[in-house]
Subunit: 190 residues, 2 copies
C-alpha cells in the first residue's frame, strides 16, 4: 500500500468510527482530520467534494466491514437458525466491551434519508447487501425465494432496532432476546 492510500484509508476509518458514534451532523471535518492523524490538506485532496463524499466512502467501508462479518459467521454454521442466532449473539457481545461502537449506519441513515439523496442511496445499498447475504443462506437451506427475501428484511430490521435498543439500554440483552425468537420466526412455510 502506498503512503497516499494509507492516508486515504486512515481518513475513511476515522470518519466511519466517528459517524457511527455521533452521526453525520455530530462530527466535524476537523475532528476527523485530527483522529485520522493525517495532514489537514489530505482530506480535501482525497475528498474534494467534502463531507458528503467522505460520508459515502465511510458508509461503503462500514458496509464491507459488516458484510464480511455476516459472511464469516453464517458460512461457518450450517443450520440457518443457528447461524443467524450465532450472528446476533456475537453482536450482543459487543455491548459488554468497553469500546462500544454505535449503529453501523442506522444513525446516519435516520439523519439524512429525507434530505440527502446520495447518502440515502449509499445506506440503501448497504441494507440491500446485508439482506442479500441472509437471502443466500436461507435459499441454500431450502426456504422459498419469497420467504427468504421477507425473512432477510425482517432480520435486518430486528438487528437495526435491536442494536439501537442495546445502545439505549447499555446492555446486550435486547439482542439476546431477539436471538431467542429466531426459531419461531424462521419456521419454514409449507
Amino acid at each position: 500500500m502506498t503512503n497516499k492510500n494509507k492516508a486515504k484509508d486512515a481518513i475513511i476509518v476515522a470518519a466511519s468510527r466517528l459517524f457511527r458514534l455521533h452521526g453525520y451532523y455530530g462530527v466535524g471535518l476537523s475532528e476527523i482530520i485530527k483522529e485520522s492523524g493525517t495532514a489537514k490538506g489530505s482530506l480535501y485532496y482525497y475528498f474534494p467534494e467534502g463531507k458528503e463524499e467522505l460520508a459515502i466512502a465511510a458508509i461503503n467501508h462500514t458496509k464491507e466491514f459488516v458484510s464480511e462479518n455476516i459472511r464469516e459467521v453464517i458460512e461457518g454454521v450450517e443450520d440457518p437458525v443457528q447461524a443467524i442466532q450465532t450472528h446476533i449473539y456475537q453482536l450482543s457481545g459487543e455491548f459488554s466491551k468497553e469500546s462500544i461502537l454505535g449503529l453501523p449506519i442506522g444513525t446516519i441513515a435516520g439523519e439524512t434519508a429525507l434530505t440527502n439523496e446520495p447518502i440515502r442511496l449509499a445506506c440503501q445499498s448497504a441494507f440491500e447487501d446485508w439482506q442479500s447475504l441472509y437471502i443466500e443462506k436461507l435459499i441454500a437451506s431450502g426456504y422459498s425465494d419469497k420467504q427468504s427475501k421477507d425473512l432477510a428484511l425482517v432480520i435486518n430490521a430486528m438487528l437495526e432496532g435491536g442494536i439501537l435498543l442495546c445502545l439505549t439500554k447499555k446492555s446486550g440483552e435486547p439482542l439476546r432476546t431477539i436471538a431467542e425468537q429466531i426459531p419461531l420466526l424462521l419456521k419454514k412455510e409449507k
Copy 2:
C-alpha cells in the same frame, strides 16, 4: 391554555418535528425558534439549560404522542395478532404521505446514547413505555409474562428497524413485510 403555555408548547412541537427529521446535531436552536414562531427569548426562558433540556422535553412529547397512537390501535382491535398488524400497517401508510416524519426518537437515541446520559435515559423511558403497552395487550390475551415481555421488545425493535428501512427505501413496503411475519412470531408458547 395560557399564552405562556402556548409558546412553550409551540417550541416543544417544533423541536420534536425537527429532531425527528434531522437528529439532535442536525438542528440549531435558531431553526427551532424560527419554526415555532415564538420570540427569541422564549426558548431560553422556558429551557434555561438550552438544547439538552429542550431535547428531553421533545422526546417526552414524542413518547406520549406515539403511546397514544399505539393505545388507540391496540385497544380497538381485540385479537393481539391483528392489533399489532393493524398498528404496523398504519405506520407503513405514513410513507406514502408527502409529509413523512423521521424515526420518532431512534435517530436522536443513536446519536447521543454513548455521549449524553440525560438524553439516553429519556429515550430508554420512551422505549420502555411503548413496550409496556404491547406487554399489557399480550398478557390480557393470555400470553405468559415472560413471552409477553420478550415479544414486546422484539416488536419494538422490528418497528424501529422497519421505520428506518422505510425511510431509507422511501417506501412503506418494509413495514408491510414485517406485519406479515407477526402471526409466526406471536405464536403462543405451550
